[in-house]
Symmetry: C2
Subunit: 334 residues, 2 copies
């Protein structure tokens, strides 16, 4: 299996990417190969700082780089030689099985949609993000790919999330909830009320009703579905809690206590560097999206997620499951 | 000054209300009187458990009680003798200066709107909620009164929040931000993009642009404006973080460390019981909304907030400020 890693994505590229790739390869089966895509000269200069390197780490040259100031939707035309576009085309053409990038999220999403195409039955591919909870993590869909959704889009997010939770998170019958402002079906905005009605009549989905913001952290569901605007606000807020909480503790406690207690370890579950990457759900390929601030550990974890997604045939399973329910009530209801 | 306290609101009514009222009176100037509204028999039974009581704590009989299963908008007609309806009518009729309740939020809001009426220039009164941050708290508007807002509603939330932050939170020139999914004006959903344009041209408002979920906790603004759906999801999520974080710490650390460190004290800033109540902004009276789970400390703090709102002439200031900007661009733009 061959995984493409965009070597030019993180703020600390290509150092964080290469360190993460080396870590991932040391822990992977021997059939895993990682291809670093990016400026060969820059990548090889960083590789030269290593005393030894795994054989299964190779380089594919892509001279250009998409930055945060580039228009996400125009990256594919304006920067055809960027690591994101070159890497995703390699994946599309079957030269690799998955693509991992910490480059600008919008550009990774837009280019993935354009090159890998949505799966049949999917109008709006969505980002799934793992939220730590008091028990097992909960998958938030959509974490930011789609704002201004229609009700049937939320039904598709529910289906994609449910398939992912079952095949990739070990939840045989995933509990899918709708994020709203009250547990009663009659609570919510227009979008949520309409989505609730559609989800309630949806076949092949274990819909457990509405959850509120306070319920997520209790771990009452495996998948929580919402519009990408709400999901993105919530995800980014959650990400900031870790630093805030650790900061508060360090300010309040004396150094003796601090030395006896590794706060970062205690709150590891809240640290997004641990989670690594978020899958793009509903496209004809495996794209894993990382933070621009990713450290090597996050890159390693994202690469391992990509390997698991390939082994579990995430894309094939999603396509099959979606085809089975092709005459969705949700699609008729638009 | 006379404050009405709904004695039948909390899960532990009237015990939490009475204990909170007694605490508040002990700490207040002598001109403050608190009227407990609710079932006289139940209230007096609880009062009888006190050895001594302040003179300025009185009872006004209201035999009925609004519960979570009552329709919020119908409470005023169906339960005219409930503590919420009786209490708010006393406030409307000038018998009292403010109303505090931990009863069902929807019913308190709807009955406040109906009895106290929106101020001129306000289409949608909104709930303001204080969010703890790394520096001073930030006011979130709307925290849940209005779902499915139009852009000009968000402008009104910004105005109401700005007035409140200046007069009640000691921020002479409040920085008002719009909650979105990117800092750039071009990031967001349709509502946010349109609201951004209106806010940018708004007179008398220090609009600092978009903030993301992760920025709130850094304390980069005094007021953050959003739709009541997003605001309510975020507020409820934030409220749950305190218990989650304290729970994580207690699970992870040994008892020796735990004894040397009062986690609840360290994270007091995250504890919503400390904050007490959320003001309803933009109505012709002072309504402070508390959690149903409020403990006496929260009731005390909500009563003290009501006292401060009356002393600061929150309603008069809001009306004057709104009248000054009566030909709002935001109102023309609808």
């Amino acid at each position: 299996m061959r995984i493409i890693l965009d070597a030019m994505g993180t703020d600390d590229h290509p150092r964080a990417e290469i360190a993460g790739a080396v870590e991932a390869l040391l822990e992977s089966e021997s059939d895993v190969e990682i291809v670093l895509v990016g400026d060969r000269e820059i990548i090889e200069a960083e590789l030269a700082t290593y005393e030894s390197l795994p054989d299964c780490l190779t380089v594919f040259h892509a001279p250009d780089r998409v930055t945060g100031t580039d228009s996400p939707s125009k990256a594919i035309r304006r920067k055809p030689e960027s690591s994101i576009v070159v890497g995703l085309k390699l994946h599309r053409d079957g030269e690799a099985d998955a693509f991992v990038s910490a480059g600008p999220t919008g550009a990774v999403m837009a280019t993935s949609l354009f090159t890998l195409r949505p799966l049949p039955g999917v109008d709006r591919p969505a980002v799934g993000a793992l939220l730590p909870t008091a028990s097992e993590p909960c998958l938030l869909v959509d974490a930011g790919a789609n704002v201004d959704c229609r009700p049937q889009h939320l039904v598709q997010f529910a289906q994609l999330g449910s398939i992912y939770a079952r095949d990739m998170m070990g939840r045989p019958e995933p509990r899918v909830a709708l994020l709203s402002i009250g547990e009663e079906p009659g609570k919510g905005d227009e979008l949520t009320l309409a989505a609730h009605r559609l989800l309630s009549s949806q076949r092949g989905l274990r819909f457990v009703g509405n959850v509120e913001g306070r319920d997520i952290i209790d771990g009452v569901c495996d998948v929580v579905v919402c519009d990408g605007f709400v999901g993105n606000v919530l995800l980014k807020f959650y990400e900031s809690v870790f630093h805030f909480v650790v900061g508060l503790l360090k300010k309040e406690v004396d150094s003796a206590t601090e030395n006896s207690l590794d706060f970062e370890e205690v709150f590891r579950v809240l640290d997004y560097a641990e989670i690594g990457g978020a899958p793009l759900l509903g496209v004809g390929g495996v794209t894993v999206i990382c933070h621009g601030e990713s450290r090597p550990k996050a890159i390693r974890n994202a690469l391992k997620l990509a390997v698991r997604a390939v082994r579990a045939d995430m894309v094939g399973n999603s396509a099959r499951h979606l085809a089975e329910s092709m005459d969705l009530p949700s699609r008729e209801a638009s």
